[in-house]
Amino acid sequence: MRIARPFRPAGLALLVALSLPLVAADKASDKVIPPKPPLPAIKALRLEPAMLALDDLRDARKVLVLGERTDGGVIDLTAEAHLTPDTAGVTVDAEGYVAAKAVGASTVSVSAAGRSAKLPVKVAGVSDQPVGFVREIQPILARTGCNQGTCHGSAKGKNGFKLSLRGYDPEYDYQALINDLSGRRFNRVNVDDSLMLQKPLGEVPHEGRQAIKPGSRYHTLLRQWIAEGARFEDVAKARATNITILPASVEIDLPGRQQQFLVLASYPDGSTRDVTREAILSSNNEEVALVKGSSLTALRRGEMAVLVRYEGIYAAREVVVMGDRTGYQFAAMPENNFVDKHVNAKLQRMKINPSGLCTDAEFVRRVYLDLTGQPPTSEKVRAFLADSTATKTKRDALIDELIGSPAYAEYWANKFADLLQCNSENLGKKGVWVFRTWIQEQFAKNRPYDQFARDLILAKGSTFENPAGNYLRALRDPGKMTEDVSQTFLGVRFNCNKCHDHPFERWTQNQYYEFGAFFAQVAFKRGTLGRDTLIRGNETYASEQVSEDIVYQNYNGGEVKHPKNDKVMAPHVPYGQSREIAAGEDRRAAFAEWMTSPGNPYFAKSTVNRFWSYFFGRGIIDPVDDIRAGNPPSNPALLDALTEDFVKSGHDVRHLLRTLCQSRAYQLSIERNRWNEDDTMNFSHAIPRRLSAEQMLDAVSIATGHRSQFKDLPAGLRAVEVPDGMVGGNDFLTLFGRPKRQSACECERSSNVTLSHALSLINGPTLGDCVGSADSRFAKLVATEKDDRKVVEEVYLSCLNRPPTEKEITGIKLGEGDKRLEGAQDLAWALLNSPAFLFNR
């Protein structure tokens, strides 16, 4: 009957809604660079750094020339500044680099925008130091792209020449240049004959084209290094330990403006170098600003970060492009708790004003979905709307009622069953039941989160009797344990560094295997419980799928070896310090203590950030499981305060969720105002979120009063109670992005909206069956309720959790007699196809 239904515009609301953001994205990707705004009046110049100290002949440095505006604020004038040395002791080249010529004190005159300043330069030495491979050659290989992933840094190298990816392994690279093929690539007898010069200069055919210009600084340095004997250095002394980005803070007034950056590297001996030209700078948001070389151009109002990498060190500088905010006046939202204080502070800084409070109807739907995974029934909505208690009081009471309810535990167990990879391929059919049940119990009794994590990491014995053991059982080997434990409990991605140092973070390949060493002795053996015999074709065999596993500590061995040299790796945590492991002790104990200790800067922080994202549609750090320097928090003070509060509460998840839900920020409307219409990351308004697959199916059940049946599972189960990620026979859940639970990544669950989703809702059997079933709410309603107004009201309350407006009531005609039921069903079907149903808003 549904299929024969004529085409209806209401069903297409979703399609229309879908097409809008696509158009907007296309427009934004044009990247038209706005014209340079006129220079404002400048009262004085400021130099950063304020003075230079040069140690040797190659220690060339640059300064930022900043203009202090008469109306406050600072503007970058580096590109238009003129620098003239006052003495013969220093030189200034065309790029503005100041270099030493004679020992002593000098000055450089700086002028820009009609103002001038003096730059003191102290020259401590003018010796020509030998060129260092690690310090000077490796950065050239990175900057020119020799060792990037598409060239010689790829796993197989290029044309027989392989370098470590982005130069993480200087020793390997040195061997490749010097010893590989019996010294083919360098020639100290006739330096210019060296293949490592001839290739990048284009003197002989080079697929990577002319990577280095003849006569350039890089050419000269490479040449000098070979001529000096192609020496290697002590890596520990020569490799930079830290980088500093200048300027220290950047707020740009208008699109079209530029900002120059400087990057200084520091070394173990305390010395520093200006490595701006070799550092690699990029924009983390090319909609807001472009970065070319070491210069940024603002495109539009917004926030972004300039990411800097230099020789395995990663740092970021946050940049605000304010844009024209003439007429702005801060209107703070009332502060329900400390969350609002920090959100307000950020909004004020960004010149944003928050939206108003959402309505009670919006709130009751939102908080039900977020805490229990299902919308309220029409009775609950009616009762809440009718309650005349003060808004905040009754909202807080509802939050308290929902937190800890059975539906709460069911919902959060489902969420964590995803992250803990509860699927029958890993755990067998019984395994998924016992594991999911165990997870649900933890939420039902509000097990402190640190203890919950420790239970999972430290589990031993039968996976039937101690279901927590199913976590490590699902991960199986130390490599996957390393990657998934770090991503799930620390929000850190430890997988790139399996094969090489992490290309976007400081994590090294060694750390991967040192981390894995904590799990090296976790062993599994088949238990005797639940062994089953399966018959497939003519063969009978013992099924490995359904029996228990025993998790045990293999004291007799089990080590992780570094793939490069087969060296046994001792367990070491990647940051901080874990306690000593006693002889014969399970290594996991020291690890779990370290991981969950209040001092661990990632554990509690990544946890509160992850929960935050479930309620606000976006993490304070986002994606939530990719914490790194290049992915900074949008509101660090807020994240720190939440972290501290969570640790202080004893890792109390209910306390955290209550704090989030009670905040004003959570209860804001999705309606935007003039001052927050472009905000996407500061939580000044609610973000509409598509219901998850399970939320949607459970919401359809509540709306229609008809539950879908899942294959091989008891009747009456909520979608969030399905224990197995591999559940078959329900295309609806799969289509709407329910994960198979094979990954620790939040991204395994999809929440996108595509044409196939729209078509499934318009024409698919799941929605059609629920709306049209004989036992549905609508059949009963039409049979007992003779007043059409009340029928319409009930359908609205069931589907959208709000009463209809007067206009809606009068505009809807259900029809007469037999047509009345069909009319009510049509109405429900249309409402269930509307964005108001599909999104949590």
């Binding site: 020509d128 010893n179 007898v189 284009g202």
Partner: protein, 438 residues
């Protein structure tokens, strides 16, 4: 680029080739030949590409090149910045003026008129001792140093065209020396020298990159070698004519050795295989080994039909030189005679002692380790090298083991005691030139 008036003559060599080097030659060179166009030399550029001639002398409007590089969004270069308007104008004028070739006759020659002077010791890539014990050949730059082996006095400098010497081998009668050489990324070369006369009797340039691992057939009529083009070739020793070409390797081939009967040949490659080949037909017989790591060095046992190879991951193994047909799922490495301890770094050189009792291996680890072939026990460790070892050679009496490598020093060891008896440079160094700075 020189500043030019509107009608000043444009030089192909001085003005145009630097632009091509920067923007074109990466793809349009004899190895890649994208669009069947070669921009790296005038002669190459003269040949029409897939879409016809690249230029018509005197007629810019009919020159495909200009259509490709000019305009608002030029088709070429595919990567990197477009040519500047001035550069396009320059090339246009060169074509207008007749597109003359003014490449100097010696522009691509690497020949030296006289032996080089050295301010730094050349890396020793190869060493060979003649079977009669009289000669020691040591690689230099553009030349081979020929020593009287017993006294270690320099007798001759064999100056050839190629700057880089890759491999050296004497004929069994010690009268001739084969030199595998190259100008990396330009060409490979095989040279034959009459040792007593110190005279080059033949030289053949092949391909566009290095040749490796030259070896004489037992009857000294043929030479085998591998190459960066992944091939194994056999050429006649008198005429240099190709007699066999084998293309079954999937990566560079570094070493060749002949079976004692001269009918079969082994080749070792970065593709991890040691392949047994019919030397006359070029037919592939079998991989004798399990493919574990790139093969860098290869040596035949003097008596048994065995070969030792050293790998890029430090492996050192001895294999039977025969088909691998008996392999099973349980044992897929049936020819393995012995696996030795893992070496500290890639193994660049292996050599059996003349009686076959000892096997020496050296490489990036910097030390040479001598093993008893019979049981794999380490007999001696030869240290002192500053950096990697690239070459090893036993004297025919087995009493001396000569090594060379990164530090450019010839070292003579007693392979049994491990004591070093001689450390010397092959050539006298002149005072170092001032190193260029900045």
């Amino acid at each position: 680029m020189t500043a030019l008036g509107a009608d000043a003559p444009v030089s192909w060599f001085k003005d145009v080739t630097p632009i091509f080097k920067r923007s074109c030659n990466g793809c349009h060179n004899p190895n890649k030949l994208k669009g069947e166009v070669d921009t790296s030399t005038y002669l190459g550029f003269l040949k029409p590409g897939k879409h016809g001639p690249s230029f018509v002398a005197g007629d810019p409007t009919k020159s495909l090149l200009l259509a490709q590089i000019s305009g608002k969004e030029p088709d070429m270069p595919k990567e990197g910045d477009a040519l500047s308007a001035a550069e396009v104008a320059l090339i246009t004028r060169w074509i207008q003026q007749g597109a003359h070739d003014d490449t100097p006759a010696d522009a691509y020659s690497t020949k030296l008129k006289e032996p080089p002077t050295y301010t730094a010791a050349p890396v020793i890539t190869s060493l060979a001792v003649s079977p009669d014990g009289q000669w020691l050949a040591v690689s230099g730059y553009h030349e081979v140093f020929l020593f009287d082996a017993p006294s270690l006095t320099l007798k001759a400098r064999l100056l050839g065209e190629s700057p880089r010497i890759e491999s050296l081998e004497f004929t069994p009668d010690s009268k001739r020396l084969a030199v595998g050489a190259s100008a990396p990324a330009r060409f490979g070369e095989v040279q034959i020298w009459d040792v007593a006369a110190a005279k080059e009797t033949g030289s053949w340039k092949l391909g566009s990159d290095s040749l490796f691992g030259v070896s004489w057939s037992p009857d000294a009529t043929r030479l085998a070698f591998g190459g960066a083009d992944k091939s194994v070739r056999v050429i006649g020793a008198m005429d240099g004519k190709e007699q066999m070409k084998f293309d079954n390797h999937s990566d560079w081939v570094f070493r060749t050795v002949w079976a004692t009967d001269g009918k079969r040949l082994l080749s070792g490659s970065r593709d991890r295989a040691v392949k047994l080949i019919d030397a006359s037909s070029g037919q592939f017989i079998d991989d004798i080994n399990k493919l574990l790591e790139p093969v860098l060095s290869l040596a035949r046992h003097p008596k048994e039909e065995w070969a030792a190879y050293g790998g890029a991951e430090g492996g050192l193994r001895v294999y039977k030189m025969k088909e691998n047909q008996e392999r099973t799922a349980g044992n897929n490495d049936v020819n393995l005679v012995r696996e030795f301890e893992r070496q500290p770094g890639p193994v660049q050189a292996v050599a059996f002692s003349p009686d076959g009792a000892l096997l020496a291996a050296g490489g990036v680890g910097g030390e040479v380790r001598v093993y008893k072939t019979a049981d794999g026990a380490r007999a001696a460790t030869l240290g002192g090298h500053e950096g990697a070892v690239f070459a090893l050679a036993f004297s025919p009496d087995g009493k001396r083991l000569i090594t060379g490598g990164f530090d450019g020093l010839i070292r003579v060891f007693d392979p049994v005691s491990g004591k070093v008896t001689v450390v010397m440079l092959p050539v006298t160094l002149s005072a170092a030139k001032q190193v260029a700075t900045r």
